[in-house]
Amino acid sequence: MEVTVTVNGRSRSGDVEPRTLLVHFLRDSLGLTGTNVGCDTSSCGACTIHIDGESVKSCTMFAVQAAGTNITTIEGLAPGDGTLHPMQQAFMECHGLQCGYCTPGMVMAATSLLRENPHPTEIEVREGLEGNLCRCTGYHNIVKSVMTAAGSAS
């Protein structure tokens, strides 16, 4: 069936089976491969995107459920002028990524977190990212990145 969504500011459509997971629609139908798949149990958060401004695990939604919504993926976060979004910039400056596989989901979760809580404590950052797993960084510099982006680095 036909699904139309707004992705990164543009209307995009695709013909999918009802069982098509949103993350597969984004990756396979729309070619937006920045959103990654790291698990099959809604545990790792690598597939995190924004739907209507809120972080969501796109592996735990059918594409048909997203019809009509406004989606932002990692490809749509930076302003498009060659610079990075402040959260991306903070991750770079604080070495908040290594292999980079969890990173798109981590950045999307972090930006959603700051929208809800612009000046989190370190513990609030850690709890706010509880749904995102990283195997490289030990989270140390991820937490530092988010605190830096929030302007509340200690």
Partner: protein, 273 residues
């Protein structure tokens, strides 16, 4: 992990959803936030032939003051429950428990009605409903009825809801200024509770346990001890009485029973302080 195929029905109204359920019987499942159902479907542990999507029934979203209780639309998301000023004033236990569900992404999509209809004994929100002595409104082909929390959970992932019934509203009695606490014990923040204990003080104290049996449970002996004003440690001693806790990789039955006693005591202490 790819779900099996299914037919998709998008319901434009509660009545349309109910008639779709009626038409397809136990072949059909309601799809709200999907955060209980889709994980099962990905492992093909659930293979419904028909999914009835009620996710756009905006009438079922919202939190309203209804006099002696707060009425919460079934499709209200955990995040909205967590951040509701109305609930913070009248049922703060529910706000806090909602904040402990899964992770932020799950709370942005998961719905209160969906979580209760799933009836998972390891889930947080059913325990809050029990401790708060809440109820759900269920609508079916023959109209609407109220099901008390005590009557809702009937077996492992089974509820009193008929195949063609759906939850439309959750009713939470106002708990006033009475103390409350939710103690969730897990090994990793995002995980289900190994054991959880929800305590709501008041004239009719409520104590509910997470993951201590095949259904979400009330710890009735603790409740009556609290009503009698006994010390927390003494009241908590009976927390695991009559339960049949499951055994898994994280905890055997003996350890779960121990945790239930410890967590209930901590919850009572916190609620009273």
């Amino acid at each position: 992990m790819i779900p099996a195929s299914f037919d998709y029905v998008k319901a434009d109204s509660v009545d349309a959803a109910i008639s779709a359920l009626r038409e397809h019987g136990d072949e059909a499942k309601l799809l709200a936030g999907g955060h209980s159902l889709i994980p099962l479907m990905r492992f093909r542990l659930a293979t419904p032939a028909v999914l009835v999507d009620i996710g756009r029934l905006d009438d079922l979203v919202g939190i309203a003051d209804a006099g002696d209780h707060v009425a919460i639309g079934a499709l209200t998301r955990h995040r909205a429950v967590e951040t509701s000023d109305l609930l913070a004033a009248h049922a703060p236990l529910l706000c806090h428990v909602a904040s402990q569900v899964g992770d932020p992404q799950v709370r942005h999509r998961g719905t209160l009605g969906g979580s209760l209809a799933h009836g998972d004994p390891a889930s947080d929100l059913p325990a809050a409903l029990l401790a708060l002595r809440g109820s759900v409104m269920a609508k079916g082909p023959d109209g609407e009825r109220e099901i008390a929390a005590d009557d809702l959970f009937t077996g492992f992932l089974e509820t009193a809801l008929a195949d063609d019934e759906m939850i439309t509203e959750i009713r939470i009695p106002k708990s006033g200024d009475a103390g409350w606490s939710y103690q969730k014990f897990n090994r990793r923040a995002q995980d289900w509770a190994i054991v959880g204990a929800a305590v709501q003080l008041g004239d009719n104290p409520g104590v509910a346990l997470v993951n201590m049996g095949v259904t979400p449970l009330r710890a009735e002996s603790v409740e009556s001890a609290l009503a009698d004003g006994v010390e927390a440690s003494e009241a908590a001693a009976g927390a695991a009485d009559g339960t049949e806790p499951p055994a898994d990789l994280n905890a055997d039955a003996e350890y779960r029973s121990h945790l239930a006693r410890v967590l209930v005591q901590r919850a009572v202490d916190a609620a009273r302080s």
